[in-house]
């Protein structure tokens, strides 16, 4: 979207080093494409080697990393590849999410294992990865480039929708984690955003609501544009002009 030749002030994404988890489908893939288009250097993480290789092939210049954020032993290898390959990190998008039981279940019917997996992917994984990458993120802030962590949220983090218990509880925990990270990291210059992209036409949504009419759902590309705008707003030079709450638990952009 941004034409070459604009300066860094007008084009805050030029050379921006961004890592996106869950980058081979849905919102994550749309973000890889959107941020690359805006000039960022992108590394993306996903579990399936074949899909990582395919997305990397289809998006030359994007660095594909095979890893599972829900697995403790994968976290530092992911961090090494992200920061090693990008030379630093300005923006982390914790996007990879697990629905919990599929199809959705009432809490009374939810297997503990499904809840644990949702918590591991949606709460503990983003916590571990943010922690492992915090040195790089704070270094970027210290050098005046700004630093943003985006945790992808959901309205299920706020509203107690029946049958969304595992997902909703995990996203509620992630939202609160985001708010506390944000308070603690403000003095280090890192902004932590919790952004809800809305109900999108993605594999995760199809898993949750198999008979939803895709025409009624938001395109992940549209959500990716809104998230990219929100990241741009939170970076120095542009962000300071807009008095926007740093932690946004309302939807970023229009309704689905």
């Amino acid at each position: 979207m941004q034409s070459a030749g604009r300066n860094a002030l007008e084009c805050p994404f030029a050379g921006l080093r961004v890592a996106i988890t869950g980058g081979t489908s849905g919102l994550g893939l749309a973000l890889v494409e959107e941020l690359k288009r805006r000039g960022a250097q992108v590394a993306f993480v996903a579990r399936d080697q074949g899909r990582v290789e395919r997305v990397a092939r289809e998006h030359p210049g994007a660095h594909g990393i095979v890893g599972d954020v829900s697995r403790k032993d994968d976290i530092h290898p992911i961090a090494i590849q992200v920061v090693g390959r990008l030379g630093g990190l300005d923006v982390l998008v914790n996007n990879a999410s697990d629905l919990g039981p599929a199809p959705l279940q009432l809490l009374g019917d939810t297997d503990c294992g499904d809840l644990e997996r949702a918590l591991a992917t949606n709460v503990v994984g983003p916590f571990r990865l943010t922690k492992a990458l915090l040195g790089a993120l704070v270094a970027s802030a210290r050098e005046g480039k700004g630093s943003v962590v985006v945790n992808v949220s959901s309205d299920a983090a706020i509203h107690p929708y029946p049958s969304w218990g595992a997902y909703g509880a995990s996203k509620a925990a992630l939202l609160h984690l985001s708010r506390i990270w944000h308070e603690e990291l403000a003095s280090e210059g890192v902004r932590v955003l919790s952004l809800d992209p809305g109900d999108m036409d993605t594999p995760l949504h199809a898993l949750a609501v198999p008979d939803a009419d895709p025409a009624t759902l938001k395109r992940p590309e549209a959500a990716a544009r809104e998230l990219a705008d929100a990241i741009g707003d939170a970076l120095p030079d542009r962000g300071s002009l807009r008095a926007r709450g740093a932690v946004m638990s309302e939807r970023a952009g229009g309704s689905p």
Binding site: I80, G84, L86
Partner: protein, 375 residues
């Protein structure tokens, strides 16, 4: 000194010996480190994360099992990862002390090594049968993936349990370019950084590819530290300028910070920002231009780290400190206790305006291609 044998970065009982410019020694819990800092001071740390630099595999021509420890690189450029200096060991693992490890099979240029998924070729021997330059096969993405998944952090015989990356990952770890952890930085955590900020103490970082501490061979050890690439952010060079202007102390967390800053020092004691390769060794006759004080692990006489401390204190003081640390049960090595040498009262006013006399030059083999070209 007793070896610290548990991989805990900030053990509750950690000690700090503070040695001032007159040689007076004070002992404190290391958690009280911030109390020894003053408003206006600048603390500078190495934010390198630790590469899993130990790669197990096979010397293909002989079929012999080997361990390769990556030990040097020509730059910190993210895509410049196809060539490394490395020390090769024979069979066995870290439960054997490095110096007791068997030598590798006979190595020759062109030999292929299979290191897990990573294929490497020996380019040449660097003046020692176990010291080689390696070329790694694959794209930078592939090399980063195979190192991060197959490699392990370099292990220590004095730490019985196997070290994971998490154990050597400092709180401020950023670019994964250190071959062994910049372990003086274990002293730092986010709470300490916040306390420094509220106490008016500035903080800055450099990135320096801290090298290996031991090659297992006395002759090769004498060549430590090898050349180490580093990067000094502009913001850090500015912070040093400001600290000079207000008369604040420049306090290095670890020997690597001293090495980088003094290498990048200009004649007026300022520091050039950007990328460089530290080739100078710092020792008793070095005139430090930038750094006033150092926080370091405790080091045994004879090591290259100990030698660097001789730039901060005279031999009599160091010896006395060493005896006191022994007597008080200080623990040594990566996860051990710390020392804080402050030379500011006698050193700060004596800026050396001459050349770099006192530094001994690098003796890394001129024949090794790894140090030839810097982009």
């Amino acid at each position: 000194m007793i070896a610290a044998d548990h991989p805990i970065q900030r053990p509750p009982g950690a000690m700090l010996a503070v040695v001032d410019a007159r040689g007076a020694i004070e002992h404190a819990p290391r958690s009280a480190f911030v109390d020894f800092l003053r408003p206006g001071d600048l603390v500078i740390a190495n934010d390198a994360a630790t590469l899993p630099a130990s790669l197990r595999g096979e010397h293909v021509p002989s079929g012999a099992p080997i361990e390769v420890r990556l030990a040097g690189r020509r730059s910190l450029a993210p895509d410049d990862v196809d060539r490394f200096l490395a020390v090769v060991f024979g069979d066995g693992d870290f439960h054997t002390r490095t110096e007791d490890r068997p030598p590798p099979p006979g190595l020759a240029p062109g030999d292929r090594l299979q290191l897990g998924p990573q294929v490497a070729t020996i380019e040449q021997l660097c003046g020692h049968p176990r010291f080689v330059s390696l070329r790694l096969r694959g794209s930078p993405d592939e090399i980063w993936a195979s190192l991060s998944r197959h490699g392990r952090p370099i292990q220590y015989a004095h730490v019985p349990e196997s070290l994971a990356l998490e154990d050597v990952w400092t709180k401020i770890a950023g670019p994964p370019v250190a071959f062994e952890p910049p372990s003086a930085g274990f002293v730092l955590d986010w709470r300490l950084l916040a306390a420094m900020r509220s106490g008016g103490i500035a903080f800055a970082t450099i990135t320096h590819a801290a090298g290996i501490s031991s090659t297992g061979d006395a002759e090769l050890d004498r060549r430590l530290p090898f050349d180490e690439p580093y990067r000094i952010p502009e913001e850090t060079a500015l912070a040093i300028r400001r600290a000079f202007a207000r008369g604040g102390r420049k306090i290095a967390i670890g020997t690597t910070v001293v090495r980088a800053l003094e290498h990048a020092a200009t004649r007026d004691g300022m520091v050039r920002s950007g990328a460089g390769v530290a080739t100078k060794r710092i020792g008793p006759t070095s005139k430090l231009r930038v750094v006033d004080a150092i926080v370091s692990g405790t080091h045994e006489p004879g090591t290259s780290h100990y030698k660097l401390l001789r730039a901060f204190a005279d031999d009599a003081t160091l010896l006395r400190a060493s005896h006191e640390l022994d007597a008080r049960g200080y623990r040594t090595h990566e996860f051990g206790d710390s020392v804080f040498f402050d030379r500011s009262q006698r050193g700060r006013l004596r800026l050396d305006r001459g050349g770099s006399a006192g530094f001994t030059g690098s003796d890394m083999d001129a024949g090794c291609p790894v140090r030839l070209q810097l982009s």
